[in-house]
Symmetry: C2
Subunit: 336 residues, 2 copies
Amino acid sequence: MELVDQALSGNRRALARLISQVENDGSLAAQTLAAIFARTGRARVVGVTGSPGTGKSTLVSELAKAYRGTGQTVGIVAVDPTSPFTGGAILGDRIRMRDLAGDPGVFIRSMATRGSLGGLARATADVVQILDATGYDIIFVETVGAGQSEVDIARTADTTIVVEAPGLGDEVQAIKAGILEIADVLVVNKADREGATNTVRALQAMLDLGAAPRAISHHGVSMSVPTQNGQHRDSALTELAWRPPILQTVALESKGIAKVIEAIAHHQAYLTESGEAQTRHRERIKSELEGILRETLLRHLMASLSSSDLNRMVERIAARELDPYTAAETLLAPRP
Amino acid sequence: MELVDQALSGNRRALARLISQVENDGSLAAQTLAAIFARTGRARVVGVTGSPGTGKSTLVSELAKAYRGTGQTVGIVAVDPTSPFTGGAILGDRIRMRDLAGDPGVFIRSMATRGSLGGLARATADVVQILDATGYDIIFVETVGAGQSEVDIARTADTTIVVEAPGLGDEVQAIKAGILEIADVLVVNKADREGATNTVRALQAMLDLGAAPRAISHHGVSMSVPTQNGQHRDSALTELAWRPPILQTVALESKGIAKVIEAIAHHQAYLTESGEAQTRHRERIKSELEGILRETLLRHLMASLSSSDLNRMVERIAARELDPYTAAETLLAPRP
């Protein structure tokens, strides 16, 4: 694991190579993650999701610059919903990030969707862990917020920002209702455009309609909770469930960025003080563990089957002699 | 399995109830699918995918009406990328389908994304099978084409239609490069809008740039293939790989629909005559079988573990004493 040592000691090329290895080889991922795991858990992970055209890549670039201005290091994992077959195509926006790429305190990684369902969410989580272990303070995970896998990826973040923009059409508005539920912070970007006030008002109305607050167990309950120093105090933050603030930005002109950074800090404090951080952490571990078990179990099974066994089964299903569930049962039955 | 018999005999309420059961209960899905499997394989499955705002729901409604006009029955499975947490929210467009809903030859089902990664693709595939067994001639699977899971769902279709619309912004254009690769038929909807010609030209250019044709093995090769009647002939259809036609529609005004129907028929003929239908069918079976094995293996494992074993492991990971991969290995190790 020389590559791991090199990556952890700050060698960027080693880091890039390590990430590629982990992306491409499940068994290497296991080794690598095991090797670095003790060093993870320091980074704050911020998910940024939104429909195409909302300008989320620009927003992430601006947020990254702002964090860099305070001396913090930034990792960016951009998940592209493109090219499932070639694993290729990088969104045009990525290019805008090039000015950041010259900064040694910033590491940018684009991940193309490829391979099987679930594979991308796993790989993204692994890359976040590696950047965390390498010492990046803030890690952005940027996704297009329309699909189930993107939502699953957002779930791995501590704080999820949902980005909207004025005038993207009605259907987009409808989607918001769902995506709102994963939002910790709402940003209306391109707020200099016509219709921004309407977009803010629509989001406000949706929040009022009571998209259930995430930390529902704390709703309306004033609690005494231990702070990070172990002291107990009645915290105003935990008196109510978190209500996502709605902020306006014009990322292309660097406007409104400080407010977003403040909201992220605010939310992170809320997570810690409400105990929500712990709950989310455990949920995340559980689902990661399940994902690993699922893949490992299948790999073990496939290794124990001959490819002719498998092909014979496929042919029998194709001929409709056997349904897939019964076929699966047969493959799983202990052989004499 | 009385419910299955009722559903198969044309009782719509039984069908709706059966689908809900299959969606919510994995073990019932197995039983049901096994019971109906022999009756599946007749329906043509058409995937329709596209960004929010392209009007794909309207297009699907119009296509459905056109098929109804020729006496064929139609199933529509609309996958909503909304509400992972409540499993709720139905897109506004669904409402437009209400006029179809009164027709006994049409069955519409909305599926919300919920549960784990992969769960939705599985549930969608199961529902398609049920509608197939019930005797629907054409089954539309409608998804928002931005995420990995949507792409996976599209893969289960015989023919995939990718819907675009003029003027949805640059980022959308970029996404097309990826989504193009799964397109069998391209439709520029809202073709009465400014910019439609540009959209068509852009798609044309992307196709020319050689987004690899799907049936790459047949590229440029003239083959003699058996037709459905078992006769051999040199088919013009198989002389080249399939090139997705680019069609223009104004679905809201029912314009251009006949051409789309024709393209679907054309593509289905191509699939059969080129042998591509067989290849895709086997790939689909393989991936379905893998999905079932993955879930079944995890379910068996979870049943064999005590919840305190699992929680203890989660706590050790949370304390960073153990990485998730080593934890998985420990859980999978044979116990004495």
